[in-house]
């Protein structure tokens, strides 16, 4: 088992979770539990968010054992990670309170794919009957939403358990669009793997490519040039604006505000067009590479500022109008509440955590790329409802405009400098993280002679989506689209 020289990943002593739980007890956020097949067993990596960086802790579960004690009993946020672990690696998790399949329901006799292992798995057909469903209570029944939803949305199935109108319980079924991404990473060269990272969650291409690239950079002990860091910030903040506008658009759509929907659709289009002017792709793809960026923006700093100012003036005026529209706010206020305590215990990421007053933002606390230089301001809410989450996003749009402008101008001082450093074709392992629009994404990347041996992405979507089902106290069917839109989680990143 290789550990990286920078000490980003440490082996757990005594083969138990005690050390992780002790550190979590000291207030370090639980950031994820990743699993990979390694020679002789399955390597489990718990990632904790320390004050200034992420830290991984490895534990090897030998193949002859193939079982491990559950973290979930002490750390409920680990539940979905453990379920995914069982699906993909066949590990038995003792004491897991809800051991149902999540990302890949397979009949018992079928071998799981074991991402990270040497051989690609043959085709695997998921079987939803394996999941099982138990609905109990007088007059209770379930209404399935999905996996084919109305409108243009990603495939996911929500089973609403209800006696009539209240939503008593929500079953979330995400397996339908499992793509086997983690397995696909193994064996790819770094340029190809970066392109794949961009496709883990297409609407957060820049954040994923950045987190992946930074994991590679720490694995190899190199640092991207300043101009590359600033380019990453510029593209990441434009991506954030587009995503947050998209959430506002979906909420307006749910409320039937057709003028707002049109206006926000126009703003979003303008942002994507600006991105395409900078790099030739509307999603910022192909910009970030391990070691730096492939090229600097196609517009000068002043031009970016001018274009962005034009977009921001119209966009922010509409955002203000939206937050003053009573018929709209009535639908958001008190809808889908997530209290601060749960958000903090779970380590809720991104605008969902911040809307509930849980302040954790990698850009500020664990700065990367050019963020240390640009000092992002925190945007926080308290109420924890759909309105607070939207207010946080719109506040972040304002801050993102400032950051993107500052990054574009600062970049001009570095024109003409090399945009990337050369990477040694060595072995190594590293963690990388980036604050995507919907929260932190992280990568655990292991390299062998400069190609990817194993890579495990973890999206904010997987970490946050379990909270979705907890926010329906007192809500009814007609609130559902508002709660869902206010979460704003791309499904592609949940099941990978």
């Amino acid at each position: 088992m290789s550990t990286d020289p920078s000490g980003q990943v440490l082996p757990l002593s005594r083969g138990s979770w005690a050390e992780v739980l002790a550190r979590h007890g000291q207030g370090h956020r639980f950031a994820g539990l990743l699993a990979a097949a390694v020679p002789g067993g399955t390597r489990l990596t718990v990632v904790l968010a320390l004050a200034d960086r992420l830290q991984g802790y490895d534990r090897l579960v030998p193949d002859e054992l193939a079982r491990v004690d559950s973290l979930t009993a002490h750390l409920p946020a680990a539940a979905w990670y453990e379920r995914a672990m069982t699906d993909l690696h066949g590990l038995r998790v003792d004491g897991q309170p809800s051991p149902r399949p999540l990302v890949l329901p397979l009949p018992g006799q079928v071998s799981p794919p074991r991402p990270g292992g040497p051989a690609p798995s043959p085709a695997l057909e998921p079987d939803e009957h394996v999941i099982g469903l138990h609905v109990d209570g007088p007059g209770m029944f379930t209404i399935p939403h999905g996996p084919v939803r109305s409108g243009v949305t990603e495939s996911v199935e929500y089973l609403l358990e209800t006696p009539g109108e209240d939503i008593s319980h929500l079953h979330v079924r995400v397996f339908a669009k499992h793509r086997g991404i983690q397995s696909r990473f193994s064996g790819l060269g770094l340029p190809d793997a970066t392109l794949l990272a961009e496709r883990v969650e297409g609407v957060a291409s820049v954040a994923h490519a950045t987190a992946f690239a930074q994991a590679v950079e720490s694995a190899l002990g190199v640092q991207a040039p300043v101009c590359a860091g600033l380019s990453r910030v510029l593209h990441a903040e434009l991506e954030r604006i587009a995503n947050h506008v998209d959430v506002a658009l979906r909420l307006s759509e749910a409320a039937g505000l057709s003028v707002a929907v049109s206006r926000l659709g126009w703003h979003k289009e303008r942002v994507l067009r600006l991105v395409s002017q900078l790099c030739g792709n509307r999603f910022g793809r192909g910009v970030v590479i391990p070691g730096g960026v492939s090229r600097l923006p196609g517009l000068a700093g002043e031009q970016v500022v001018a274009a962005l100012t034009g977009i921001a003036d119209a966009l922010l005026a509409d955002a203000d109008a939206l937050m003053r529209t009573p018929s709209f706010l009535d639908r958001l206020r008190g809808t889908g509440p997530l209290d601060h305590g749960l958000a903090a215990r779970h380590g809720a990421l991104g605008p969902i955590g911040r809307g509930s007053g849980f302040d954790d933002d990698d850009r500020r606390l664990r700065p990367y790329a050019g963020y240390a230089q640009l000092c992002p301001e925190p945007v926080l809410g308290q109420a924890g409802d759909a309105q607070a989450r939207l207010a946080v996003r719109l506040g972040e749009v304002r801050e993102s405009v400032r950051l993107a402008r500052a990054a574009a101008l600062a970049l001009e001082e570095h024109r003409g400098e090399p945009t990337s450093v050369k990477l040694p074709a060595e072995d190594g392992r590293g963690l990388g993280w980036a604050e995507a629009p919907h929260g932190e994404v992280l990568y655990d990347v292991e390299l062998r002679a400069g190609t990817v041996l194993r890579a495990a992405p973890r999206s904010a979507s997987l970490h946050n989506l379990p909270l979705f089902a907890t926010t329906f106290q007192g809500d009814i069917f007609t609130d559902f689209p508002f709660v869902e839109a206010s979460f704003g989680l791309p499904i592609a990143g949940v099941v990978l």
Partner: protein
């Protein structure tokens, strides 16, 4: 009513496409193409195509635009052999039409494909309803498809609508590389549609599986699940490319350049 006058302030934002060319679409880097036919192979390995869209044949280089994710690596590596092709109009009615040089049977076959499609879409008149299904996309294709109803593209002006029910749908728009967990829901949606019906594969992932395939969890394109009538390459394709694909399938592209494209 703060919203009432907001929409009026900016005047008309909508593209003139397809009646007039769209400047953004004309400048869009929609495809990679070979420089002329019989391009000598500079060594496909040297071009480093991540999806195997480029291959070598005895008579030169072959390019499959249905596999290309437009990363541009080959254009940088061998500008003498490959170049960007400007323009958003990249859709095709036959999978083979995405191959260069084209191996397919000649124009009579294309005419037959068109004639078959024309009889099916003739019933759709001037309004057409789309049902979208995500079969394992990365989420970006959904954004570009949904953009068709923003004021810039405004598909409603062309009588193109979204519908929630497959029973009301004329066109099935499928995104994603063919996740095996979506095979049954996709087939159920397809079966629920009234005839005649048209199927679009939206994006390189939907056409060939793109970069995310091969995988144990993917069929590597949706053509393995449902019969496809129109193929729109791109990773993701721009909204204008999607619009072009729809109008191409519906036989509604205006005769702008002497002959239907």
């Amino acid at each position: 009513m703060p919203w009432m006058f907001r929409g009026l302030r900016n005047g008309v934002l909508t593209t003139g496409y397809p009646a007039r060319p769209d400047p953004y679409g004309e400048a869009w880097r929609g495809a990679v193409r070979l420089r002329g036919s019989g391009v000598p192979a500079p060594g496909a390995a040297r071009l480093g195509c991540p999806t195997g869209a480029l291959s070598e044949a005895p008579d030169g280089l072959r390019l499959d635009r249905g596999r290309c994710i437009l990363c541009g690596r080959c254009v940088e590596a061998a500008p003498e052999a490959l170049e960007w092709q400007a323009g958003a109009e990249v859709a095709a009615l036959r999978r083979d039409d995405l191959l260069a040089p084209s191996p397919g049977p000649e124009d009579e076959d294309l005419e037959a494909v068109r004639a078959d499609l024309a009889t099916r879409v003739s019933a759709l008149g001037r309004s057409v309803h789309l049902r979208h299904v995500d079969a394992g996309s990365d989420g970006s294709e959904e954004w570009e498809l949904a953009a068709l109803w923003n004021p810039v593209y405004d598909a409603h002006r062309l009588g193109i609508y979204l519908t929630a029910s497959p029973r009301h749908a004329d066109v099935l728009v499928v995104t994603g590389a063919g996740a095996r967990g979506m095979v049954a829901p996709l087939l159920a949606t397809y079966e629920a549609m009234p005839r005649p019906r048209v199927v679009m594969a939206l994006g390189t992932d939907a056409i060939s599986g793109g970069l995310v395939a091969p995988s144990y969890a993917l069929t590597g394109g949706i053509g393995a699940i449902v019969p496809v009538d129109v193929w729109v390459p791109g990773s993701p394709p721009s909204p204008l490319s999607i619009l072009h694909g729809l109008l191409l399938a519906l036989g509604r592209l205006p005769d702008r350049r002497g002959g239907r494209s």
